[in-house]
């Protein structure tokens, strides 16, 4: 099992990261890759950039804990999480989650679990830079609801 967690200011290559997880292996049957990208508009207003602030000591540890939890919940054969910080312009990548497993159910569920947690528990804060100035992004209640489903016995997991 190969787990990678990386915080970095610069861009990443999603394809190269996914290839690293599977290279030379024949036990992996399913790879799910999630890439979060900076959009050019928020609520219809064009934006110039996002700036991501993070809590240096905590962010990496917090993500690593969630990767461990994903490995405990699902039979994963590899996980990579990369989260950028600093200034990010529209079209650039923000976050990458890659999960590998023998079967698709585990790979999909683990990728969604990790994204839901990154959105609500990883110590990152987005600031939007636009014609209206710089504004901190408000947390979304539907992100909290999405994260909440992993703490209940009902819902998605029960259906699988």
């Amino acid at each position: 099992m190969s787990n990678t967690v990386r915080l970095q200011a610069g861009e990443f290559d999603a394809a190269a990261e996914a290839a690293l997880l599977t290279r030379g292996r024949t036990d992996i049957g399913a790879v799910v890759t999630f890439t979060g990208i900076c959009r050019g508009a928020e609520s219809g207003e064009p934006i110039a950039a996002l700036t991501l602030e993070h809590y240096p000591g905590m962010a990496e540890a917090e993500i690593a804990r969630h990767v461990e939890e994903a490995n405990a919940r699902w039979p994963l054969l590899g996980v990579t999480v990369i989260h950028r910080h600093g200034r990010i312009e529209p079209g650039e990548n923000i976050v990458l989650v890659v999960t590998a497993s023998s079967h698709r159910e585990a790979a999909f569920a683990a990728a969604e679990f990790l994204m839901d947690y990154l959105k609500t528990r990883a110590p990152f804060w987005k600031q939007v830079e636009s014609a209206a100035g710089k504004n901190w992004v408000d947390a979304k209640s539907n992100d909290d609801a999405a994260a909440e489903r992993w703490t209940k016995p009902s819902g998605r997991e029960a259906a699988e």
Binding site: K119, T120, P123, W136
Partner: protein, 86 residues
């Protein structure tokens, strides 16, 4: 109480006007919520930052904690808005 390192992020940091500081709250400040109330009385910038403590999240020694968590033994406490990463 011994010295405690406080760290602020995002708009909490902007309102307080600094990224971190060392403080020595009195012994009767026992929980995260009490620490926020004590900080809010330190000046206008703190009052503004902590005017709505319900929306502020905290971490003790880099672990998320609830407002009723005891701060005894903490070395580093961070205050920040709800996270918006991912």
């Amino acid at each position: 109480m011994s010295t405690l390192k406080l760290i602020y992020f995002a708009w909490v940091r902007e309102r307080v006007g600094k990224a971190e500081e060392d403080v020595a709250p009195p012994a009767n400040v026992a929980t995260v919520a009490e620490l926020m109330a004590w900080l809010a009385r330190r000046g206008d910038e703190y009052a503004h930052a902590f005017e709505n403590p319900k929306v502020i999240r905290a971490a003790i020694d880099r672990n998320h904690v609830r407002a009723d968590t005891a701060i005894k033994g903490a070395r580093e406490i961070a205050f920040f808005p709800p996270m918006t990463g991912g």
